[in-house]
Structures are given as structure tokens and as C-alpha cells.
Subunit: 196 residues, 2 copies
DNA sequence: AGAGACTCTTGATTTATATCAACAAATCCC
DNA sequence: GGGATTTGTTGATATAAATCAAGAGTCTCT
């Protein structure tokens, strides 16, 4: 059950097995069904999520009730609204399962405690945070900071997330790319034509 | 000279004074004139930057030679292309001074060494990285992930960066917002009209 | 102080994509 | 297996912002 998490924690330098045990001991296993909400805006999340299996997404809603997807999390990734988690503020983001998923959930106090006492854990945290930043910047560069047409953005998305693209409904992909569902539909049609 | 940096490093838990000394000892002070390039795309940056004074920006260029500004760095912030720094890859980003600036520059090997030997430093690194991620996500939410009109994006920018907005030429602000300089010019004219 | 380099403004025109609307296809799950 | 829900498609129209072009301000640096 905790093998993927243990691997994640050990990826950037050894962590003592007994410390890994202490870590996993405070993680709660949460099973969520597809479409089910894991975090809703307005709440103060006391937890971070490690996706053990399945697929989840993070989104906000604007005044017109349009959804804007910011991130997808598949097996082996950390997920959560770090901002409201760290500062104990009400969040503006929703987290929702796209597929039935198994999540490992760790509470603020437990994580804090572990950071303070497990040698090497801060390093994993730093590198994971840096990776998240790098990914987000790449995404901003290639997808949201335009002079890229809607079609180019979609192609960049496929290049980056080709592995999970087929598991994600097109509406969510469109909302991730910042384009209308209809536009994405037309683009895909176009790409089919041009590739045959 | 190193007071602002020492403060930054000590912001999330005490670091021994002699460790702070070791840190600052390996930092090079670099003075850059306005408009001067600090990092150019194609190079492999061996350094991260701490802005001691002044103002710098980070941008990429697309195939049409249009610039896209991704971040501004003012006094007291860390700056650099972490991705190519970490993975020793050629960078796609340029860093340029907007004002005459004093930068503190630390090399990869030195930082690595310090991370390995200074208690508490990994924590500062983690929190700084998390902060960078939080800022970038906020920016993506409020500015680049649309359903925000160009004018709304500009107003969000002013809300967030009002302190440095007046020090940045409008062309760069436009390129940060992902809109044309002309559009920003029209928006500002509009806002003047509507506020009197 | 003045030439040259930036930076900003304004107008006219074009264009990519959003929006609205309605239907078709796929999928879920009882 | 079949009704219900969710997701995807297609067409017509509207619109915000890009682009092109040219001129006016404003800095800046010797």
C-alpha cells in the first residue's frame, strides 16, 4: 500500500526505514469515487494528498460558474492547495476525483512534526516543491503564456501529458488549456484531417 | 551588504551566525547596469541570484522574436532558472536588469555543499520553493488563466505588484500579462477616464 | 543641451476564439 | 439492457484583442 509513497520519499537521498514507517503510520488511506469532491472551496484544508492510484484534478470557479482546471494528479504525485494548507486560510480551489482513486492523506500537524524530526525529509520537501514550481513554470511558458494558438497549446499538452491525456475528459483538458470545449473539439477534428 | 540575504535565510528558523558567514562568503557580488543581460538563453546557468537591490526580469522569446516576461525580481527575492540550474541544461530564459542592480550570486557546487552541511538550510530552501510555487499559481489563477479580460488582468497585476509597477516599463508589463503593448496603452487610457 | 534611442499612444483593420444553440454519441450504473 | 446523465460535435454569429502603421513623448547619456 505504501510502497509508492516510500519510493517518493526516498527518491532524493535515503530516509531511515523506521522514519518511513513513522511517516506512513500517520497517513490516512482515503478511497474516493469518480466525480467525488475531496476538497471544496471555502474550506481550510488541513491535509496534503499523495495520489497512490487513480487521477484527480484541481480547479477554481469564476463568477460565471466556469471551471478552470489547474493541475491533474496521477499515481505518485503530491497534490493539494499548499497556500491555504500552510497559512490555514479558506481555499479557493476544489479537488475532485476524475477516476476512482486511492489517496494517502497527511495532516498538517503530523507533517510538521515529521519535518522537524526526520533527517532528510526537508530535502525531499524542497525538491518536490522545486519540481512543482518547475512544472508549473513550464506549463505557463508552453501553454498559458500565449502567442501560442489554441491548437499549439493542445499539442504541447499532449507532448507533456500524453500519458494521462486519454484518461481525462476533453472538457477538463479545455479548461486546463484556457479554451472553450467547442474549440478543442474543432481542433481535434482538424488534427485528424491533417494527419491522414 | 549581506544583511538582507541573512534576513532571508533566517526567516523560517534560526541559522547559526557562523553558517550564515559561510554562506555569504561564497556569494559573489555582481553589479549590473540597467538593460544588461545577466543570463542568456542557450547557456547553462551555474548560479542562483539573490536580488540585493534593484529590479530584474526573466523572459523568453518566441519564434516571432516576441518577448514573454515571466517574473520580476526586486530587493530581497531569489531569482534564477531553477530547472536548468538543477539539471545543468541549456536554459530557454533570459534574465535582464530593468534598473541598475546589485545581485548576490551563488554557484551550484557551493549551494549544494551548504545544503549538505548547514542545519536548517534545507528548510529555508523548501519554504522559499513553496513560496515561489504559491506565487506562480496565484499569478496563473488571477492573470493568465483567462475569462479575465485584459483590463481585469492589469488590475490584478496592480493589486499584486503595485509596489513595483511604476518602476517597470509598460511594454514589459504587457508582455507579463500576455497582451499587446497597444492594448495596455488603451486600457490605461480607459481606466483614467472611468476613474475621474 | 541635444541627438538618438527607447516607450507610449492612437487609429484602422483583421482574426482567432468565445458564445449561443441544438443535437449526437458515449458512458454509467441500477 | 436501457434510461439517464455526461461528454462531444457542429454551425452561425459576435467580439475582444492582435496586428499594422505612423507619429508623439520621454528618457539618457555623452
Amino acid at each position: 500500500m505504501f510502497d509508492i509513497l516510500r519510493q517518493n520519499l526516498s527518491a532524493h537521498g535515503p530516509i531511515a526505514p523506521e522514519d518511513l514507517d513513522r511517516f506512513t503510520a500517520v497517513c490516512k488511506v482515503v478511497n474516493v469515487k469518480r466525480k467525488k469532491q475531496v476538497l471544496s472551496e471555502g474550506n481550510i484544508p488541513n491535509f496534503l494528498i499523495f495520489v497512490h492510484s487513480g487521477l484527480i484534478r484541481m480547479y477554481t470557479t469564476d463568477k460565471n460558474m466556469n471551471e478552470h482546471t489547474f493541475d491533474f494528479g496521477s499515481e505518485g504525485t503530491w497534490f493539494g492547495d499548499i497556500k491555504s494548507f500552510r497559512f490555514k486560510q479558506p481555499t479557493d480551489t476544489n479537488i475532485e476525483a476524475i477516476e476512482d482513486s486511492q489517496l494517502l492523506v497527511i495532516a498538517h500537524e503530523d507533517l510538521k512534526q515529521l519535518y522537524a524530526t526526520v533527517p532528510g525529509l526537508e530535502r525531499v520537501g524542497r525538491i518536490n516543491a522545486e519540481d512543482k514550481y518547475i512544472q508549473l513554470l513550464d506549463r505557463l511558458k508552453k501553454i498559458n503564456h500565449s502567442n501560442y494558438s489554441a491548437e499549439e497549446r493542445y499539442q504541447e499538452f499532449l507532448k507533456f501529458h500524453g500519458d494521462i491525456a486519454f484518461r481525462i475528459p476533453n472538457t477538463y483538458i479545455a479548461s486546463y488549456l484556457g479554451i472553450a470545449t467547442e474549440t478543442l473539439s474543432r481542433i481535434r477534428k482538424n488534427m485528424l484531417h491533417n494527419n491522414q
